[in-house]
């Protein structure tokens, strides 16, 4: 009777000090089923995944997987792997200082007859995976040197190494991926399904769930709500069940009539971009879109004084500036939120309170003495305002769910309250309700005359929020769409601009 069932999740409870992350989850997944898991930030999705994979031991309850008729319960990650379970965790966890190929074959390096590592075979097989997933990367490249989105993709493609998979889990795989790569991922999921492999898929992008999943399980505050066939539900239904209220069109914010020019960037050249020119006006939201490797984040890093500028100039209110360090840029009224919150955004081992204030201690201190009341009240305010879910502001941010960590990063930038706010992928891993809140805050900011730059690889967001959209391709500005044009074009048009290939005789390319 159970024959068709692959995974039984039976009454899983998980408590952490001060938090009950899971309050008894029971459900089962069939062979070849693609199951979505949705819920607000901190609902317990990632925790459930860790319990399934044996990475965390549930406080109560049991996980069982059907290994050809024999029911097994994995006690740790290695056992889970041997039962054919694979997971792609929310925090990209690959060995950062090893090469792509080594990561693919970690723990099962191919050997030559002599017993040494067979590098040739390893690189060959790796190239096959790379081709299958249509990545442009050298198998010898170290992970560290790659953009985070590409790292995420390598993490995903790593799963295809193992032949006897039964269950593959993806925890927000598309958070950093561009459209094209999402398609690649979906094709891979379809292939898995066709081979009878079950998939658990977590995402805050509900349209993806409608597209790729068969069934969807809704969770709220650690509790199981219900499981439905995807055909029976729509986006609004899911949102109302998750958030408990209706969320209207989140991109529908009040834009401002842009004022005078605040920032002008002229022919800026840097590590992986050339001749980038654009300007930013007061009260404006400038969107940046581009595929991975298009150089959009690098441009911002260079302006902000993180990376070296190789040429060109930046004018702030008509005055030429060049920042030697992020601190310089910060003191001149810039605020920059990097895309990878875990490597350079958050002090992971520190409290929520410290991290909310980390960017602006100078603003709440006199002669270097911190006003502890302000420190606490700021943290409490933002916890309230954008709903950072945590048992207390003293909690270590590493223990927060992914989306809640992102909310902390956003808060830290808002605390600084700079004139120009640069958000690189602001809503990665943030749930619909919180996105709505964040966009409301941005609406407020421009109403106060601040200027905002939003970099996003999620087109609906980039197009929905921007007054003007800068589209980058291969390190160049491929086009700047003004608000009139933005109204006329659709996603495909923008994608076409973003994937424009520069002609051989283009002088810009020669300069690279």
């Amino acid at each position: 009777m159970d024959d068709n069932v692959l995974l039984k999740i039976d009454g899983i409870v998980k408590t952490y000090p001060g938090v009950q992350a899971l309050k008894g989850i029971t459900t089962s997944i069939n062979k070849g089923e693609v199951r979505a898991l949705v819920g607000e930030n901190g609902a317990g999705k990632s925790t459930l995944i860790k319990c399934i994979m044996g990475v965390e031991t549930p406080t109560e309850g049991k996980i069982e997987i059907n290994c050809d008729g024999k029911w097994e319960s994995p006690k740790n990650a290695i056992e889970a792997k041997s039962f054919g379970m694979q997971a792609n965790y929310q925090n990209v966890n690959i060995a950062k200082n090893l090469s792509v190929a080594e990561n693919y074959f970690l723990g099962c390096l191919p050997r030559t007859k002599l017993g040494t590592v067979d590098w040739n075979q390893m690189y060959e097989s790796s190239q096959k995976i790379i081709d299958k997933f249509q990545l442009t990367v050298d198998p010898r490249a170290t992970i560290e040197s790659l953009p985070i989105a590409l790292q995420a993709m390598i993490n995903i493609s790593k799963i295809s190494i193992n032949e006897k998979v039964r269950l593959v889990i993806f925890d927000e795989p598309t958070a950093l991926l561009e459209n094209e790569k999402v398609v690649t991922l979906f094709n891979y999921i379809k292939e898995l399904k066709a081979n009878g492999v079950s998939v658990i898929y977590i995402s805050h992008r509900l349209e993806e769930i409608m597209e790729i999943c068969d069934t969807v399980t809704i969770m709220k505050d650690g509790a199981y709500v219900e499981t439905k066939n995807v055909t029976e539900v729509n986006k609004d239904y899911l949102i109302s069940k998750m958030v408990g209220r209706d969320v209207a069109d989140i991109y529908n914010i009040k834009h401002q009539e842009p004022g005078e020019e605040l920032l002008r960037v002229e022919k800026l050249c840097g590590n992986s971009f050339v001749d980038v020119s654009f300007n930013l006006r007061k009260g404006e939201i400038l969107g940046f879109f581009g595929l991975v490797g298009s150089g959009r984040s690098e441009v911002m890093r260079a302006i902000f004084g993180v990376d070296k500028v190789k040429g060109g100039s930046v004018y702030l209110r008509g005055k030429k500036v060049s920042f030697k360090s992020p601190k310089d840029a910060m003191l001149s009224g810039f605020g920059f939120l990097t895309e990878d919150r875990r490597t350079d955004g958050l002090a992971l081992s520190q409290s929520v309170e410290l991290n909310v204030n980390i960017y602006s201690y100078d603003m709440i201190s006199k002669a270097s003495i911190i006003n502890l009341n302000k420190e606490r009240s700021r943290a409490e305010d933002y916890r309230e305002k954008i709903g950072i879910k945590t048992p207390s502001i003293k909690q270590c941010v590493n223990n927060l769910s992914g989306g809640n960590q992102q909310k902390v990063v956003i808060s830290k930038l808002l605390c600084r309250n700079p004139e120009i706010l640069i958000f690189d992928e602001p809503t990665v891993g943030v749930d619909v309700g919180a996105k709505d809140e964040i966009f409301k805050i941005i609406e407020n900011l421009i109403a106060q005359g601040k200027s905002v730059i939003i970099i996003s690889s999620y087109l609906p967001e980039a197009m929905g929020m921007a007054d003007r959209l800068v589209v980058m391709a291969e390190g160049h500005v491929a086009g700047i769409l003004d608000s009139e044009q933005l109204k006329k074009v659709n996603e495909e048009d923008v994608l076409r601009i973003a994937s424009a290939v520069y002609a051989e005789n283009n002088p810009i390319v020669e300069a690279v």
Binding site: Q20, V306, P326, T343, G345
Partner: protein, 327 residues
């Protein structure tokens, strides 16, 4: 259903109990208390004024060093050179005084030299990107050599009377050295809690990239941390000279082990980003107490060394277990 909620409440309470016990400071106070009472009732010489003041005096010097070491450990570094800097400071204050320089100027000289040693560490760590362990190991070796060269391998004595009598004296039954220690500990505690520099230490310890991108100067923080630690080592060296009424070339040898152990026992993690002054003060007391109680019970000193080593290892294991359970 009702029993289910009750069960949950119980679970939460036991979880709270567990976190309470997990608090390093509280478990340390317990251990110190147990040791204290065991020795008080088990031996006849432990609970004497002489022995108790002695414990405090011994703790004071290690205690000051340990507090400084905690700062360095919070930034994600480690300082092996502290014992040698203490030795250098001891030598400076003693040779200045024996050559007729006044108490106050001689102390200034010792402190300035110690700060320079700290800055030297910072130069190696920041400018040349040497890992803290290797950098301070180098500094330690250089200083130990210098000490022997300057002192010609001999003992320097002839310190001012009022200088040494201050160290052996007490105020309201508390040894003066212990008062200095606690004063320094309180200041360091306040810096960590109220001053931006204190926050920066923790951020730096959580990752250099994090510090940089959040507008914190890695250079300034590193220099300040090592220079400040140098200053405290200098003070500890002065205290040591006053206590033993001379400077011997081996002064301060092996202090680094105790200082690091006290920090780690007190909850500092060698991975950086955590540490507490309260914990370090208790850690220092615990280490000195274990040694003293062992002697009182007549345990062989070699065996005592093994026991102290085991305590440190256990502390590190507990630290690891705590991290695992909170992950």
């Amino acid at each position: 259903m009702a029993s289910n909620t009750k069960n949950l409440a119980e679970q939460r309470r036991s979880a709270n109990m567990k976190t309470l016990l997990m608090r390093t400071e509280i478990s340390m106070v317990l251990i110190i208390g147990v040791l204290f009472f065991a020795a008080a009732f088990g031996t006849k010489n432990f609970l004497t004024a002489y022995n108790l003041t002695n414990i405090l005096k011994q703790s004071a010097i290690i205690g000051v060093i340990a507090v400084a070491e905690t700062y360095i450990i919070i930034t994600g570094g480690i300082d092996i050179s502290c014992g040698a800097i203490v030795g250098m400071s001891t030598l400076m204050v003693a040779s200045c005084q024996s050559s007729g320089i006044g108490i106050f100027p001689s102390m200034i000289v010792a402190m300035v030299v110690a700060i320079i040693c700290g800055v030297f560490n910072a130069v190696l760590v920041h400018e040349f990107n040497v890992t803290a362990f290797v950098a301070t190991l180098g500094t330690q070796t250089i200083l130990r050599g210098l000490i022997k060269v300057i002192s010609n391998g001999g003992t320097v004595s002839g310190l001012h009377k009022s200088f040494t009598s201050f160290a052996s004296g007490s105020t309201l039954f508390v040894p003066n050295l212990a008062i200095i220690w606690l004063g320094i500990a309180v200041i360091c505690f306040l810096i960590l809690r109220y001053v931006v520099f204190g926050r920066n230490l923790f951020v730096l310890g959580s990752g250099k990239e994090v510090a940089k991108l959040n507008g914190i100067s890695i250079r300034k923080t590193t220099y300040m941390a090592y220079a400040f630690a140098g200053l405290l080592y200098g003070i500890a060296g002065i205290m040591l000279a006053a206590r033993i009424n001379s400077a011997v070339p081996t002064a301060g040898e092996g202090y680094e082990t105790n200082a690091i152990a006290a920090s780690v026992l007190g909850g500092a993690s060698l991975a950086g980003g955590s540490g507490s002054i309260m914990g370090t003060v208790l850690g220092t007391l615990l280490i000195i107490l274990i040694d003293n109680v062992g002697t009182q019970f007549g345990i062989d000193t070699f065996i005592m060394q093994v026991i102290t080593g085991c305590v440190i290892v256990i502390a590190i294991i507990v630290d690891q277990l705590k991290k695992r359970s909170s992950r």
